[in-house]
């Protein structure tokens, strides 16, 4: 089996970190690079957090390229549920690992350009605002053909927003970047709030993860425990929605998801609805679909998948 080459563009972030840690122990995935961007936290912190998570997961071999320091047009906003460091109360040593000299946008241009030349295309996982890839596409449009697909966490189609009434955080941070990506012709798999709100990581789940995850058990449990929104009236129980890890889950086990094809759009002009994502479910726009939007998730299957993956850290600590 050849591993699927992926680049993880992210803004860690608690749920980003869980997604990274899951990807690290999945031999089906070849993590070519991690490209942090400003989002949940300013770039200095998302970069540092990505480096720390690489060290925690024992994957200091993966290059990390620092991405954009702010959205294209809108003023920066940051996440509300990730604590001061971006990793909750998780106590991690300052990283010894350094970011690569090359910035994320330049890396994406060079590496995806190479993929476009060789035909060995790369899957891009977007777990944060899409500033990095939008910049790269505007500087070098030819790199689009080096991208197999974009698997993104973001947007809210049938669900309301989580940062404003209409808008999911990643989309609201940089709606112009999302517009560039949605208009690029690159195939998209969209894990929106419609999907992620179906997979709630409950306190019971957190205990189960803590039990099986070997040498990262304490840090993983700290990350996950901080994620509890304690908002049962919204999510149906205690716990927090497993946003970003669903991107990794879809790559590993797409059979756990039902998707529906549609054209997706983003509002980038109206202040009231800024960042709202819209799906053309019934072909009203006259434009071809550009995305497979996850509409239903086998939540138990996803939790079971991740429990099995994180149990691999037990084996790794023994090694």
């Amino acid at each position: 089996m050849t591993a699927l080459p992926i680049i993880i563009d992210c803004d860690p972030g608690i749920d980003d970190s869980i997604a990274l840690l899951a990807a690290f122990v999945s031999p089906e995935l070849d993590v070519v690079a991690i490209t942090p961007v400003a989002g949940n936290q300013p770039i200095e912190r998302t970069l540092r957090n990505a480096l720390q998570i690489c060290e925690l997961g024992g994957r200091t071999d993966i290059p990390v390229h620092a991405g954009c320091h702010r959205p294209l047009l809108r003023e920066p906003i940051y996440g509300q549920f990730h604590g001061e460091t971006g990793l909750g109360n998780t106590d991690l040593p300052l990283p010894a690992k350094q970011a690569e000299a090359k910035g994320a946008v330049e890396f994406l241009i060079d590496r995806l350009g190479e993929a476009a030349q060789t035909g060995k295309r790369i899957t891009l996982c977007c777990l944060g605002p899409m500033t990095n890839i939008a910049m790269a596409l505007r500087i070098s449009p030819g790199i689009a053909s080096g991208i197999e697909r974009i698997v993104m966490m973001g947007g809210a189609y049938r669900e309301p927003g989580n940062r404003t009434m209409t808008s999911e955080f990643n989309m609201l941070v940089d709606p112009h970047a999302a517009h560039i990506v949605f208009s690029s012709g690159i195939p998209i798999v969209a894990l929106s709030l419609d999907a992620t709100h179906q997979v709630i990581l409950t306190p019971d789940h957190v205990s189960a993860f803590a039990e099986i995850s070997g040498r990262i058990s304490r840090q993983l449990a700290d990350l996950m425990a901080f994620w509890d929104r304690n908002q049962a009236e919204r999510y149906g129980s205690r716990g927090g929605p497993l946003h970003d890890p669903l991107v990794i889950a879809w790559l590993l086990a797409p059979q756990l998801f039902e998707t529906r094809r549609a054209r997706i759009f983003i509002e980038h002009e109206s202040e009231l609805c800024m960042g709202q994502t819209i799906a053309d479910w019934f072909g009203k726009s006259g434009l071809e679909p550009n995305a497979d939007i996850a509409t239903h998730v086998d939540a138990e299957g996803v939790i079971a998948l991740f429990l099995e993956r994180f149990s691999r850290y037990r084996a790794r600590s023994a090694a």
Partner: protein
Amino acid sequence: MSRRRIIIDTDPGVDDAAAIFLALASPELDLAGISVVAGNVGLAASVKNACKLVALAGRRDVPVYAGAAGPLIRDQVFGKYAHIGSFADTLVPETDHGPQAVSSVRFIAEEALKAASKGRRITICAIGPLTNIALALRLAPNVAQGIERIVMMGGAFASLGHRTPWSEFNVHADPHAAEIVWNSGVPLVLMPLDVTFQALFTEEDFRGFEAKGSPCGSALAALLRTYDRSDIKRFGRPGGAIHDAMTIAWLLQPDLFSGKEMAIGVTLCGPTAGQTWADFYGKSDRRPNALVMSGVDERGYRELVVERIAGLALTSGEREIDA
């Protein structure tokens, strides 16, 4: 005297050609490179034109970079003279000179970062849509610190638009890029249509470009005759504007121009997207972000442009022909 290091960000373009020639003819300026952007014409034609212009001037040492192929967000629009495409070989001779491998955006960002670390900042003359410069500013937070000033041709305040009734082309083609650049904190000098429409060039000036036998002067005269820019209904007198060269002229002789610091902005969407406003009378709470020019010594400007370009590449041009 230390020469001022500049980048010309451009979409040539006839009046872009005048600006590039004026810079090449001016020893006060050290032209680090020409960063090309899609605008008046598509990117490939703009790049070709820039290469033809530097080759004709015998200045292949000035690197040409290819940049953004279209605007950040809005659909692409071209100039009124888009049909020009790349300049006909009969007007500007063909060349095998080509652009550098690296993008305009990376060139601008790297020049600015180098300039910031050396403490000798660079000036950018922006005479096309601002897409390249906006992208460069977003590449790294320190890029802005390496730019001393952006001297831009664009906008229309007291004057009406020329690409649409409400908008000037360079801003209209990428208003989001203008929003990014104008709010970047980099000092801005703006040459809007208000001032560029005040200096009109006629056949007498075209003959002046040719007077000394400069290949560049002759090519520019041919371009200006072929693509007539006069509009007697609008200007009430004969002649046409050479907008872009005003940015270079300001660097050479700022006292030719008069203007005032004020807040400026751009409309990003809706039916009047690309419209620019300037707070001439302090009606907004926005701090001034640009020195907006409103007056020019027409004769002084025309003489400067004609005299300098007429003398460009007289010897090096002959040397190329001999070889």
